[in-house]
Symmetry: C2
Subunit: 298 residues, 2 copies
C-alpha cells in the first residue's frame, strides 16, 4: 500500500505515521502538513510541506498514493473563532481532495461532534445534529464522501472520532482540552480544575486506538453498507472514575476540583454510552478497558 | 412582511410570486433571477436581475427583505452534467446566502432527492442518503440552515419538495420531466412513452401546492423542533392511476406506452407512500386528492 497522510504533523497524525512505519505493507508513506517536524530517515517517507487546501498540493500529495488518511483540519474552538477558515479547510479542501482522490481509498477523520447535543446513547443509528461550526463542516464533508462511495466514484469511509487523549498540554483550539489536561496535571502532581461535574461523562479513546483505527480503515477495504460514516468505539467515562483510575497510577497527585461551566458541561459532559456495533463488527481496534486506555494515553 | 424570492423566474418561482402578490401582508416583494420575464406593474415589486452567487447581488436582494425563499438552483440533470456549477450554486451560493441572511426568516427549497434510493415509505424519520450531485449539495445546504437555526443565528426551514407538476414541456435538466410531460401529451392528444413501469410510483405535488407551502414557510415562524428539514406532503401516485385520472379529463388521448428505463425507474419509479406528518401538523397546504392535483396542475 502507498499511503498519504494529511495533517501528519498533528497529534493524531504523528501517531498514524509511527504506526504506518511499523507496517511492512506500507511501501510508500507521503506525509503532509503546513510544517512537519524532522522525521525518521525511513526511505519510504515522502515529506511535502504546504497548504492542503491548494489544488496543486493536493495533486502532489495524491501522486504517489492509493490510500489517503485526511486528518488536516481546523479544530473545534479554532473553527468557532474563524468560521471562514473552517469552511476553507474543513469543507472546501475536503471536497476538493475527495474529488481528486477518485479511484483511491479515502479515510476522512470526522468527529462525534456531528451528533451535536449528546443523546442518551450514541449508536450507529443516532441522527446527526451538529451545533459547532467544525461539526457542521465535518458533516458536510462526510456527505460528500458517502455520496461518492454510493456513486462508486471512490472507496472510503469517514470515522467519527471521540475525544482523543492525552493531547499535548497546549492551547489547541479545543474546548475539550480539559480531558487531556487532567492526565498531564495528575502525572505532574499539579492541582487541576475540571470545567465539568464529577458525575459528567465524555467518550474518550487513546491516541493509539484512534490512530490504529484510521490505519485499519485505510488498509481494509471493509466499509459499512451504503457508504455511511462510522462511529468509532469509545469508553464513555465518568470524570470521577477517570480521576480515580489516574490516581491509582499517581497516588500523590493533589485533589481535583470540579467547577462545572454550563457550556462545557453541555458540550462535553452530558454523554451517555457509545455503542459502536458496526465498527466493532468490522474489526476496528479500541481500548478495551479504562486501564488500557490510560496506559496507552500516557 | 418584506419578502425576497430567488429563482423567481423559474416554474415554481413564478407561482410563488403570483401567490405572494395576492397576499395583502406582503408589503414588498424582491424578485431575482438571471433573467426575469416582464412582470405586473405592482408597486410592491422590486426586480433585480443577476447572479445570486455574487455576494453583491446577495446584499442587494436581502437589503429590503425580512424573509427569503431561496429557489435558485441548478436542477438534477444539469447538476449531474456539471457538478462544478452545482457546487457553485447549490452549495456555495446557498451557504453564503444563509450566512448573509442572519436575523431573517429563510426558506430553502430542497428536494425529496436527498433520500436517494427511495425507501418503502418516506416519513419524517427517513435518513438521507443522496446519490445525485444535486441532492448531495442540497443536503449540505440543509445542514448549513439546520445548524444556523440550532445556533439561533437564523430562523428558517428547508422544505423537501416532491416532483412538481406540470412543468413546462421543455428540456429542463430534469430526469423526472416525464412526470410533467405525461400531462402535456394527454392534454394535447399526443402519444407518449413513459420511461417507467405502469405499476411504478412517484410522489408528486401541484406547483400550486408547492408554492403555497413555500409561502406558508416564509410567513409562519412555525418550524419543526431542532431546526430540522421538513418533508412536504405529496401524493405517491401509481403511474397507471395517473394515466387513468388524466384520461377522465382527456378521453380521446391515445394510449400511453410504458417502456421502463432501469435508471429512471430506479430514481423515480420505486417510491412508496410519503407520510409527512410533521408538515401536516404544522398546517402546510397540500393537494388533497389526485383530482385536485390534476385540476391545479393543468
Amino acid at each position: 500500500m502507498r499511503l498519504a497522510i494529511t495533517g501528519a504533523g498533528g497529534f493524531v497524525g504523528r501517531k498514524v505515521v509511527e504506526l504506518a512505519l511499523a507496517r511492512s505493507d506500507c511501501r510508500s508513506i507521503t506525509i503532509t502538513d503546513c510544517s512537519l517536524p524532522s522525521t525518521s530517515p525511513d526511505p519510504r517517507l515522502r515529506v511535502i510541506e504546504g497548504d492542503i487546501a491548494d489544488p496543486l498540493m493536493q495533486d502532489a500529495v495524491l501522486a504517489d498514493a492509493d490510500a489517503v488518511i485526511h486528518l488536516a483540519a481546523v479544530l473545534g474552538g479554532a473553527a468557532e473563532a474563524d468560521p471562514e477558515a473552517s469552511r476553507r479547510m474543513n469543507l472546501d479542501a475536503a471536497l476538493d481532495l475527495i474529488h481528486r482522490a477518485r479511484g483511491r481509498r479515502f479515510v476522512l477523520a470526522s468527529s462525534i461532534a456531528v451528533y451535536g447535543k449528546p443523546p442518551a446513547i450514541i449508536d450507529d443509528d443516532t441522527p446527526c445534529a451538529p451545533t459547532l461550526i467544525y461539526a457542521m463542516h465535518k458533516r458536510m464533508a462526510e456527505i460528500a464522501l458517502e455520496t461518492a462511495v454510493r456513486r462508486g466514484e471512490i472507496d472510503g469511509v469517514a470515522l467519527r472520532i471521540p475525544g482523543v487523549v492525552a493531547r499535548p498540554d497546549l492551547a489547541q483550539g479545543l474546548k475539550s482540552a480539559f480531558l487531556s489536561n487532567l492526565f498531564h496535571a495528575m502525572r505532574q502532581g499539579r492541582g487541576f480544575t475540571m470545567p465539568v461535574a464529577p458525575e459528567g461523562r465524555s467518550p474518550i479513546a487513546s491516541v493509539h486506538a484512534v490512530a490504529a483505527a484510521l490505519l485499519h480503515a485505510a488498509v481494509s477495504s471493509i466499509t459499512p453498507g451504503d457508504g455511511r460514516s462510522l462511529l468509532l468505539p469509545a469508553l464513555s467515562v465518568q470524570f470521577s472514575d477517570l480521576e480515580a483510575a489516574l490516581r491509582q497510577r499517581f497516588p500523590s497527585a493533589p485533589p481535583i476540583t470540579y467547577r462545572p461551566d454550563p457550556d462545557v458541561m453541555q458540550g462535553f459532559g452530558m454523554f451517555g454510552d457509545v455503542q459502536a456495533a458496526d465498527a466493532t463488527h468490522l474489526g476496528y481496534p479500541a481500548d478495551r478497558t479504562l486501564a488500557e486506555l490510560i496506559a496507552r494515553a500516557l
